[in-house]
């Protein structure tokens, strides 16, 4: 699983309802503050990632504000997948 694959999955998910404009740097985008995933739907997003990559987020990961940044989330998913190996 490459970073590119994960990026594709994550960016496709956050754009389910609204396309992120081209001029926005998607890797530094806070997708919750930007309204792409609202705070109520955030937990669903996490569960979808868990199902897709067979990984588990700890409660503190779910609360970690850094993981609301696309790039940070992608790095985190990659590290979790690598840990599993």
């Amino acid at each position: 699983m490459t970073m590119t694959d994960i990026k594709e999955f994550v960016t496709e998910y956050i754009q389910r309802e609204y396309t992120v404009p081209e001029e926005v740097d998607i890797m530094t985008l806070n997708y919750v503050e930007g309204g792409y995933i609202d705070s109520m739907a955030f937990i669903q997003f996490i569960s979808t990632i868990e199902d897709e990559y067979d990984i588990e987020f700890e409660v503190e990961d779910i609360d970690n504000p850094e993981l609301r940044i696309v790039g940070k989330l992608i790095e985190f998913i990659k590290s979790k997948i690598d840990e599993q190996k």
């Binding site: 389910r16 309802e17 609204y18």
Partner: protein, 509 residues
Amino acid sequence: MRSQLADLFYKNAAEMPQKQAIWCDGKTATYSEMADLVSRYSNFLVSKGVQYGDHVAIPMNNSIESVALFFTAADLGVCLVPLNPTLPLDSIKVAMQSGDMKHLIARKSFLSDCAKKGGVYVPGITICLDGEFEGAFPFSEVATMPTTRPACEHIKGNESLILTMTSGSTGTPKPIDISQQNKVDRSLAHIRVYGLIKEDRILAATPLYHSLAERLVILPLILGATSILLPRFTPAIWLKCAEEQKPTFTIAVSAQLAQILELIKQTEAQGIDSFRSIVSSSALLEEKVKIELIDRLQCEFHEMYGTSETSTATDICFQAARNKQKSVGLPFDEAEIRILRDDEDTECAVGEVGEIAVKSKLTCKGYYKLKNMMDMATTNGFFRTGDLGYVDEDGYLYFAGRKKELIITGAINVYPNDVDAVVKQLTAVEDCAAFSYPDERLGEVVALAIVVKEDCELNERTVKMYCARNLADFQQPHKIFFVDMLPKNAMGKLQRNRILSHIKTMGLD
């Protein structure tokens, strides 16, 4: 006859082709461009076999395309069924069945997500809004369609235009059936009550799959005003839009207004001076929030009361009725209010709390294919809202709580039974109950009290993830409490309204 709703819009397009019709997420369209869009969509749907009376499901986002589709539907005599795109697939399937959907218009991500989970079946056509998807017609084909208006010539006005789905995931959905005439009448009533004019810039900031935003985008386009459609709501996006797009009128959800005020105070935002009038809906706004907002925005401030079934029933202007601050106002000309006692027949005296019942010319056609349910909720032509209230000696209505077991989070109704049914599927759960928990940002949030089976273990994370997979976003529990028992009466009936105090007594909150 042609659709009156579409006619009013096309007339504005003919008279003011260059006027800005709509703004959404940085894009704009003039009346002329919007009319071309509506006509192209109509020609596209007709060319694919969509016919008068067909029901078209659309997991709907806030966009210019979605707004154009409302007018396309009106012009063709088609019924649009906007769905919340975040609903779990099972709920989408139930909603599609209960609304007799024939066709589906969706974004690619929705279609591919559905395909992964077994797909949804529609007997008619599927259209992919963005890009290509196997088995679906690409929406990009509309660009090749003519801009002539292929209006249906035998619209009577009583055709269903929109079915609004009102229930959650496991309960039976109650599709509120709104006719073309309903939409026109509702728009005209709001134009009159709020004195709206062509120069107004009307802001819609809630999802288009709810009746409030539908009203706020259709209304300006039949009036000849400008529609400002927020793509999605966060207080920051709302403020930026208010500064840049200079809206003059909006109907907002009270929970949104509280969040907006908070941000204005934090950022000391200036330059939001364009509003002439703001209406707060869905729940009574706290008085201090109201006063601070008026101070900051310097505009007329209204509260309204209504339901999706009846549309707005009462309105009050804060500045005009200073001695009625806690009231939700006087009835619209179209509406009559009665307060009913528990026997559902006799009327309450002045000041006596009972169930608010509304008889209005703006009431919907009924619940689609559920005539009995509408009849059961109606007494002598008055729709019983499930809300409690009273009327004072001057006829002003006061809201006093809810009779129905309902949690309203950010203006969205959550039926606690729907949440209970899903959580009870967890094998470690002995008993559980969802209940309303006060929240500064959303007014209320869903909380959950769970009794775990003896010799079983269950943690918060497991419950949250199970809910994430099986409930819609607005139904997610924000707080979870593990308790030894739930409060029940002598007959063993759950007393949901006592759970919060029970938890506080136990020192769990």
